[in-house]
């Protein structure tokens, strides 16, 4: 039996799981809910593995496209169809695998929370949408998934709806995402207009057949390729929380921690990267926009890293870290290293999911406390959690041979090789900062003395197996995932970088545009050394400031030496406030003006004035009917004279 023919079931199964749990209702039995909620992703995972196996083992794998039905027919046909190609294979694996683990973890983490069933409905819904996003064979299906995950993000961030903040955070996430989606949509429209289709393969084929078509001037002084690339990137900015639309992601931490791991670290936020890579043919033709992407990525990376330095909420730190890492991915995509972007996406999925789940375990142990200032010395209470967490931290810091090292280093190497030295430098500094703030987290959480209340201390315990087992599995992944992308050049064997080879069919090659950057292996080695050194330096700084049981002293030291920077970082560069002042308030003011002035005063006012004038005219007119018959006779007489005058004239 050909597993590929069941490809469509992969996204459908979680949807069905969600529907089933939805029908079970809030009163559904715990076991049943778990069975459905975790079972559906498991089935998806198994099916996905089957598909991947089938796909990978087929000779000379050609992209597999499966069309279910026509979403819209007619001259502008858009199908509901799925595509399995090397890129979606990677994504499929990451999403189903990490997703399943997080489902398992959730079963433990959420076991005692209210709304257990609702949680799994949302989470399954998310899995379905995410799979739709990555398996979609055209931009539209991807977009459906794209917004679907946005919705789930909204629902899950606002999961604790009885509090004030989470619903607000969810709303913010949704709206900010939507701003990006507008860009995405406009990009789609332009594609639709240019190619009459949204199908990936057909568009790529059309571009390859006639690249010059895309270089024609289109609108806003941009070529078609640049226009599309720019607007698609706007979508990516929103979804992947890049400058300037990153503000939603830190707030999104209001949701349950597994959600943060799954959605706001491993999968959804990387959709932007996926989409850019998916559209690489266009981006390759839009060199200017690609530079822009790289710059945004680099800026976001360092910017978020600085904020990460000054956060006290463990999840906030991880959130900014995610933003920062996503910046790396865009940096990679911007400099044309698409496979590096996907590589980092994959490794990041593992170690960041692990970090989040670890933090979830910590929070679980701390009875919901998220403030690192109240933690400390947890390592001895949480052996598995602390070890896996530290492993992931090392991975993200970029210490070989853990996964983060390979992927991050590949990005930096490609950046350097492509001649973006400034961006490379920024990336390097960020790497140092990353190592620094991540180890700050580790030190503040796991070392030193406990700073929380006694009650909390009393309750601290290691999490159940359903939570720790995923941690361990992810830790293995975080440690080893880098091996799929060993920099082959160093060893003179390009094919050693399996991922690069695997993905190469997906990447368009334009003879005149895509000159491969070649760096000598000596340079590569040197760069690698530098990045390791930087990471180690970052760790040492962290250790100096926060390590060795110094607790909060490091923060105070930082605050007293650089009060301005500290405040700036702690308050996230005041971006939220800035938006409030320059966007939200003026628009709200405008809205009030529209309502109170234009609607009420001008339009209704003029109508009321019209009515009033009419009525006043009538009121004045009625005064002519004096009741005195002599007046009436006079009107008659006057009327005659007027009429006669009219005739005489």
């Amino acid at each position: 039996m050909n597993a590929l023919t069941l490809l469509w079931l992969i996204p459908l199964l979680p949807f069905m799981g969600a529907a089933l749990n939805g029908i079970l209702g809030p009163k559904g039995r715990h076991g049943a809910v778990t069975a459905v909620g975790v079972g559906a992703p498991l089935l998806s995972l198994l099916l996905a593995l089957g598909c991947l196996w089938q796909y990978a083992t087929s000779v000379n794998p050609a992209p597999f496209q499966q069309t279910l039905y026509a979403w819209v027919a007619g001259p502008f046909q858009i199908d509901v169809s799925f595509l399995l190609d090397p890129l979606s294979c990677i994504m499929l694996f990451v999403v189903t695998f990490v997703g399943f683990l997080i489902h398992v973890y959730s079963a433990g983490y959420m076991a005692h929370e209210g709304g257990y069933q609702r949680y799994f409905v949302y989470l399954n819904l998310f899995m379905g949408s995410m799979l739709l996003l990555i398996l979609g064979a055209n931009y539209l299906v991807t977009f459906v998934g794209w917004e679907g995950v946005g919705l789930c993000s909204y629902l899950l961030i606002g999961f604790y709806y009885e509090q004030e903040f989470p619903p607000y955070a969810g709303q913010k996430a949704f709206i900010v995402n939507r701003i990006g989606d507008v860009g995405f949509l406009i990009g789609l429209f332009a594609l639709m207009g240019a190619f009459g289709t949204l199908d990936y393969q057909r568009i790529t084929a059309a571009i390859m057949a006639n690249p010059d078509h895309l270089l024609q001037p289109y609108a806003l002084g941009l070529s078609l390729a640049s226009f599309v690339a720019l607007f698609l990137f706007v979508g990516a900015i929103g979804k992947s929380a890049q400058i300037p639309l990153f503000v939603w992601l830190p707030d999104a931490m209001a949701g349950p921690t597994p959600v943060s791991a799954l959605i706001h670290a491993a999968t959804m936020v990387t959709a932007g990267v996926y989409m850019v890579v998916r559209s690489n043919a266009i981006y390759q033709l839009a060199t200017g926009v690609s530079h822009f992407v790289a710059i945004i990525g680099a800026l976001t990376a360092i910017f978020a890293a600085t904020i990460g330095l000054a956060q006290n909420d463990i999840k906030k730190v991880l959130a900014y870290s995610t933003v920062s890492q996503l910046g790396y991915m865009f940096l990679a995509a911007g400099v044309g290293a698409y496979s590096s972007a996907i590589f980092h996406l994959g490794t990041h999925a593992f170690f960041k999911a692990l970090l989040f789940l670890g933090s979830g375990s910590v929070i679980h142990a701390m009875s919901g406390e998220q403030d690192m200032r109240k933690m400390g010395g947890l390592a001895k209470h949480l052996p598995i959690t602390s070890r896996t967490f530290i492993l992931a931290t090392v991975a993200i810091a970029g210490i070989p041979p853990l996964s983060g090292f390979f992927s991050k280093d590949e990005i930096l190497g490609e950046t350097f090789a492509s001649g973006h030295y400034i961006l490379w430098a920024v990336g390097m500094i960020t790497a140092g900062l990353t190592a620094c703030y991540m180890f700050r987290t580790v030190y503040m959480t796991f070392t030193g003395t406990f700073r929380g209340t006694h009650e909390q201390e009393h309750h601290v315990h290691e999490s159940p197996a359903s939570m720790t087992v995923p941690l361990i599995i992810l830790a293995v992944g975080a440690a080893l995932a880098g091996l799929v992308g060993i920099p082959g050049k160093l060893f003179g064997n390009e094919h050693l970088n399996w991922l690069h080879t695997w993905l190469s069919p997906v990447l368009a090659r334009f003879p005149e545009h895509g000159a491969e950057h070649q760096a000598s292996s000596a340079t590569e080695w040197a760069l690698m050394g530098v990045s390791v050194l930087v990471a180690v330096a970052g760790i040492l700084v962290a250790r100096a400031l926060w390590g060795r049981g110094r607790g909060l002293a490091g923060d105070q030291a930082f605050a007293s030496r650089l009060p301005f920077l500290q405040r700036l970082f702690e308050n996230k560069w005041y971006v939220d406030e800035l938006y409030d002042r320059i966007v939200i308030r003026p628009v709200k003011w405008l809205a009030r003006v529209c309502w109170k002035v234009i609607d009420v005063l001008v339009i209704d006012g003029s109508i009321h004035v019209g009515a009033f004038v009419t009525e006043i005219t009538g009121d004045l007119g009625r005064l002519t009917t004096t009741g005195n018959v002599r007046n009436y006779a006079l009107y008659f007489f006057g009327g005659i004279l007027v009429l006669f005058a009219l005739v005489l004239l």
Partner: protein
Amino acid sequence: MELFVFSLFALGALVSALAVVSHRNPVYATMSLVVTLVCVAALFLMLGAPFIATLQVLIYTGAIVVLFLFVIMLLNIQREEHSAPSGGAQRWAAILMGFVLAGLLFGLFWRAHAGAEIQPLTEDQVSLTRLARLLFTEYMLPFQAIGLLLLAAVVAATVLARRPDGRITAPGEESK
């Protein structure tokens, strides 16, 4: 001679007409109307309409004016009351517009008919027979209709003048 007679009656008619419209006491006004009517009747005579002149005197002065006097006496109206001030604007507008109309009529009549030759009276024109023949042939229908009109007027007058409880009495009695 004819001019003199005309002037006399015309003047009489105008003066008495002015008296009709200006005298505060309705009784005097009514009496002045009699004078006007008689003067106009005389002019009818001069215009060769003796039958109409007779009717004028008989019906108007003999019947209508008497009716007026009767009602005025019945209602015991002596003078116009002064309590409610008469609207000045109404008065002046009326007079102004009256003059406009007068000017118009005078002008138009003068322009249309000044110097029109007038034929001497013929027998036919003063013939009562011819008048009667007209009445009974060409104007048969109005003649019949006027019968109904008069009947209706009688019924209308009785309906209106009846006391609220239906008895026909003089209005003066009820106030007592």
